[in-house]
């Protein structure tokens, strides 16, 4: 049912070349620790002007007039661009998970008539400096006529709710059903049925670097260059070309250093059209650096879902069926992700368990809030919270230990590849490999879960209550079917890898260099990795969904293997030695055991008639499914509602580790973000749709004081059979189940079932009850 691939062995021991499996320090670090990185805000072009975007102060309003003359009169102001200046039919398309009807909800780069969220672009001011641009922005007079706002997705579903988009039958931008088995029969035969409503709050990626772009139009050549691309430069080049009606070759997108992505950075946003448009109009390079005030209102939000969910189980804990009515609040417009997030939640809701029947109805609903997209572990963070919370409730009702309840339903080792019975964007969800119970056992031992439970049961004085919680989950990795790589070795023996992936700070250069080292046979520090410049890399799908190591790595492996084969053939002729007796080295190729017998790289390149250069393309229609388990031990102060995480542990099987240190870094950082989502971060709005968490004073990113040490167990028990490296992407497992595990731990501590995130102290206090 899925094409299985053989693992390809490394050509040199990993420790000799710091290849696959070693904790090689990162190639990326040096300029970054020296302050010599080049983020988009550091990048300048001669004659560059600065843009400030005027954004709607209203959540829903009609624009009745814009007066720009006073702004234009200010010294240092070059232009003020409004919606009417744009071609009228410009709409930012979905790049993923399109469903029929959703195209009626797409966003124009700038509002013309109606604004549908606070923060929507209404005008752009171009000036000599950002300071002057902001001065001028205050002089632009815009008249708005307020319209009724809809802020609750369930209210938006009502027949008489105000309609956000004209010409649409309802506020539902996407509607789908997935599932398998006979759910009615499952529920009819159950010993226990639980029905719950579970909610996840709106929060988001919020990378520490805000977005930014520098766009320059070359009038003579009729070409456009945009710096500040991230995540998917080649894809966005295509979108921009399509919106401008240009051939793609006239556009170049360049990735600079990127200060974190997490799913949100690098999508095609309104500004990705507006800034190039302004550069063409002004015929000057234009820089736009998003400030934090804009960032919190304009960049994709995520996660806001309501689940009306019910579960049917047998008295012995065997799962019979699961039903979910999933409502996703997608904000004012459908952006590039289409139905990605709620559809992913629905596809992954069953998790690592056997469910005879499952049914999910998904609705993506528009409201007058910032449009939504993905955030690290999209859909899964939400689904894991819903499912794992529900399972603990079942365990409590049946009097079965939560670990034991899960154990009785985990998929067995012999069922893989396993058809989960769901689909995602037209593909069946087929879990490639897994040894779920083995990871559970190893984790319980490694983290000494028994000790955690003994700690929980110790008598405690005063207002503190202790709880332990867990969550098991399946992640997914490696979307977008194909990736490109080229490996070159020149006359000095320097190796350059060109990759279609992108860097969002995760360490992709190091990881690809390690893959190349293992399959070319040259130490990783002699390898440099280029990515993100569409003029240098012919094709690429970028960095998202934990794909870069899987598909990007496999492509590099193929190219490296071909280069090696080529080199060895020439060297073998030259040295009159068998290829298997040869070794690639810094100076050239040497004969193993008698290393004075060598041929230099310059000679090999000469023999080759030029630089060695091989391309690799790796395609795979199916996804990899890493899996993991989180354990949390918390202490809850029943007087303040405050939560202290005493221990947090993540067990994760990634198939195969390329760089254990970097994987642990991904898990730790991911868990910190999960903690933010579980306890601190929330985009709240007032009744008029004004964002209330509009600064870092109110949108609470966890500091070092809120993030405990994360205990980590990384295993390689279930290599991925879909790629020759055996790797599954590892970027999201640290985040995936934090909401679930912490909610379960807090429920355990209080003896009250948590049904909503975040676990803010006020919400905890309400759960405990009694205000005094």
């Amino acid at each position: 049912m899925i094409p299985l691939v053989e693992l390809v062995p490394d050509v040199e021991p990993p420790t000799e070349v710091m290849g696959i499996g070693t904790s090689a320090p990162r190639l990326e670090d040096r300029p970054l620790v020296q302050g010599r990185g080049c983020f988009v805000g550091d990048f300048k072009r001669p004659g560059m002007l600065h843009a400030a975007i005027i954004r709607s102060p209203y959540a829903h309003a009609r624009i009745t007039g814009i007066e720009v003359s006073a702004a234009m009169a200010l010294e240092g102001v070059h232009d003020v661009v409004v919606g009417a200046d744009l071609p009228s039919d410009t709409l930012i398309p979905m790049r993923q998970f399109r469903v029929p009807g959703a195209e009626l909800f797409l966003q124009s780069p700038m509002a013309r008539d109606v604004v549908r969220y606070s923060g929507e672009p209404v005008a752009v001011v171009i000036a000599d400096s950002r300071y002057i641009a902001e001065d001028a922005a205050e002089l632009v007079e815009i008249d708005f006529e307020e319209l009724p706002v809809v802020l609750d997705a369930e209210v938006a579903l009502a027949a008489d709710a105000p309609r956000l988009h004209q010409g649409t039958p309802s506020n539902v931008a996407g509607d789908m059903v997935i599932g398998h088995g006979d759910v009615d029969q499952a529920f009819a035969s159950a010993d226990l049925v639980l029905e719950e409503v579970l909610r996840i709050q709106r929060h988001a990626a919020v990378p520490l670097e805000t977005r930014g772009l520098v766009a320059e139009f070359d009038e003579a050549e009729g070409s456009l260059t945009v710096w500040g691309a991230a995540k998917i430069p080649h894809v966005n080049k295509g979108i921009l070309a399509r919106l401008l009606g240009w051939e793609e070759r006239r556009i170049r997108l360049v990735e600079l250093h990127v200060g974190g992505g997490f799913g949100a950075r690098g999508e095609f946003y309104p500004e990705d059209y507006l800034i190039p448009f302004c550069a063409m109009r002004c015929k000057r390079p234009i820089a736009w650096i998003e400030d934090r005030d804009e960032n919190l209102r304009a960049m994709n939000h995520s996660r806001e879902q309501i689940h009306h969910v019910s579960v049917a189980v047998r008295a012995d804990g065997k799962f019979l069926g699961l039903k979910d009515e999933l409502i996703c609040d997608t904000g004012g417009y459908i952006r590039t992700h289409g139905m990605t997030v709620p559809a992913m939640a629905a596809a992954m809701m069953p998790g690592p368990y056997e469910w005879p029947a499952y049914h999910c109805h998904v609705q993506s609903v528009v409201t007058n809030k910032t449009p939504a997209g993905t955030y690290r572990s999209p859909g899964r963070y939400e689904a894991n919270f819903v499912r794992e919370r529900l399972l603990d409730m079942v365990a409590h009702r049946l009097g079965i230990d939560p670990v034991e309840l899960r154990r009785r339903n985990l998929l067995a080792e012999d069922v893989f590849p396993y058809d989960a019975g769901t689909t995602y964007d037209g593909h069946d969800v087929i879990f490639d490999s897994g040894k779920y119970e083995l990871l559970l056992d190893k984790s319980i031992e490694c983290f000494d879960v028994d000790a955690m439970r003994r700690w929980r049961d110790e008598p405690v004085q005063g207002p503190l209550r202790r709880g332990v919680g867990m969550a098991f989950f399946v992640e997914k990795a490696g979307p977008a079917v194909k990736e490109y790589a080229r490996v070159e070795v020149g006359a000095t023996g320097e190796v350059v890898v060109f990759s279609g992936t992108a860097s969002v700070g995760q360490g992709v250069e190091t990881v690809l260099a390690q893959v190349c080292a293992s399959h070319l046979g040259i130490p990783y520090e002699r390898i440099s990795v280029k990515h993100g410049d569409t003029a240098v890399i012919p094709e690429g799908m970028g960095a998202f969904g934990s794909r870069a190591a899987m598909l990007g790595g496999a492509a590099v492996m193929l190219a490296a293997r071909d280069v090696r084969e080529h080199v060895l053939k020439l060297a073998s002729d030259e040295l009159e030695a068998a290829p298997e007796d040869l070794k690639l080295a810094a100076g050239g190729v040497v004969v193993r055991g008698s290393e004075s017998k060598r041929v230099a790289w310059s000679r090999l390149v000469e023999l080759n008639g030029g630089t060695f250069k091989e391309e690799g393309r790796y395609s795979c229609e199916f996804l990899g499914y890493p899996y993991g388990v989180h354990f949390a031990a918390v202490e809850v102060d029943t007087e303040t509602g405050g939560i202290e995480i005493k221990k947090y542990a993540v067990g994760y099987d990634v198939g195969r580790c390329i760089n254990p240190m970097l994987i642990r870094g991904q898990i730790t950082g991911g868990a910190a973000q999960g903690i933010g989502g579980a306890l601190y971060e929330e985009f709240a709005f007032d009744p008029n749709g004004q964002p209330l968490a509009a600064s870092f004073m109110d949108y609470l990113l966890p500091t070092v004081q809120e993030v405990p040490k994360i205990d980590i167990l990384v295993t390689e028990d279930a290599p991925c059979p879909l790629n020759p490296l055996g790797v599954k992407g590892a970027g999201e497992g640290g985040t995936a189940a934090v909401g679930a595990a912490l909610a379960n731990a807090v429920s355990d501590a209080l003896g009250v079932e948590v049904t909503a995130l975040p676990l803010s102290p006020e919400r905890i206090a309400q759960l405990i009850g009694g205000n005094q």
């Binding site: 990326e28 620790v33 010599r36 919020v206 670097e209 250093h257 870094g665 004073m697 500091t703």
Partner: protein, 168 residues
């Protein structure tokens, strides 16, 4: 209207003519080209713009350039002894994977360098307290704490190049 200013940046005297409203962070980045100091929130929460003013870490987004007149400013660019050589903290950050995207790193380095100068052998709690004014969205902080503690151990063992850098 501009004001002439003169200050010391990374050991060199610099002069400028600035609008009073120009933030110190923007002066360093745009006028002096010292773009290692990053701007992450412009309201004093994230700590990415942390520099040292007369040896003490402060937010350069919450000061006007004109206020630095006559003072001594250190930025991340002044940390390493030479372009080839890393400061022990920078080296430890590299070895312990204490950075991912690296956007917050300069501000954190400037905060931690000041900590180690005043507290050469900090406890993990002291490192966490000192680090709490710098947000990092990538690492989950653990490796940063480890790298700082490791730097302190190394400096104690090998003698301290940090001490001579600048006294408060």
């Amino acid at each position: 209207m501009t004001v002439d200013i003169s200050l010391e940046v990374n050991g060199s005297r610099v002069q400028g003519s600035v609008e009073p409203r120009l933030l110190l962070a923007d002066f360093l980045r745009d006028e002096l080209g010292l773009t290692g100091t990053h701007v992450g929130c412009e309201h004093g929460v994230c700590g990415a713009c942390t520099i040292q003013l007369d040896g003490e870490p402060v937010r350069s987004c919450l000061m006007f350039a004109v206020q630095a007149r006559g003072h001594r400013v250190e930025t991340v660019e002044g940390l390493a002894p030479s372009p080839e050589e890393l400061h022990p903290l920078q080296q430890a950050f590299h070895e312990h994977h204490a950075l991912q995207c690296g956007f917050c790193t300069p501000g954190i380095l400037m905060t931690m360098e000041a900590l180690l100068r005043v507290t050469p052998a900090p406890t993990p709690e002291q490192v966490r307290t000192a680090l709490s004014g710098n947000l990092c969205r990538c690492t989950g902080y653990q490796n940063i704490v480890t790298a700082v503690l490791e730097t302190a151990r190394r400096l104690e063992r090998d003698g301290s190049p940090v001490e001579q850098a600048s006294a408060p």
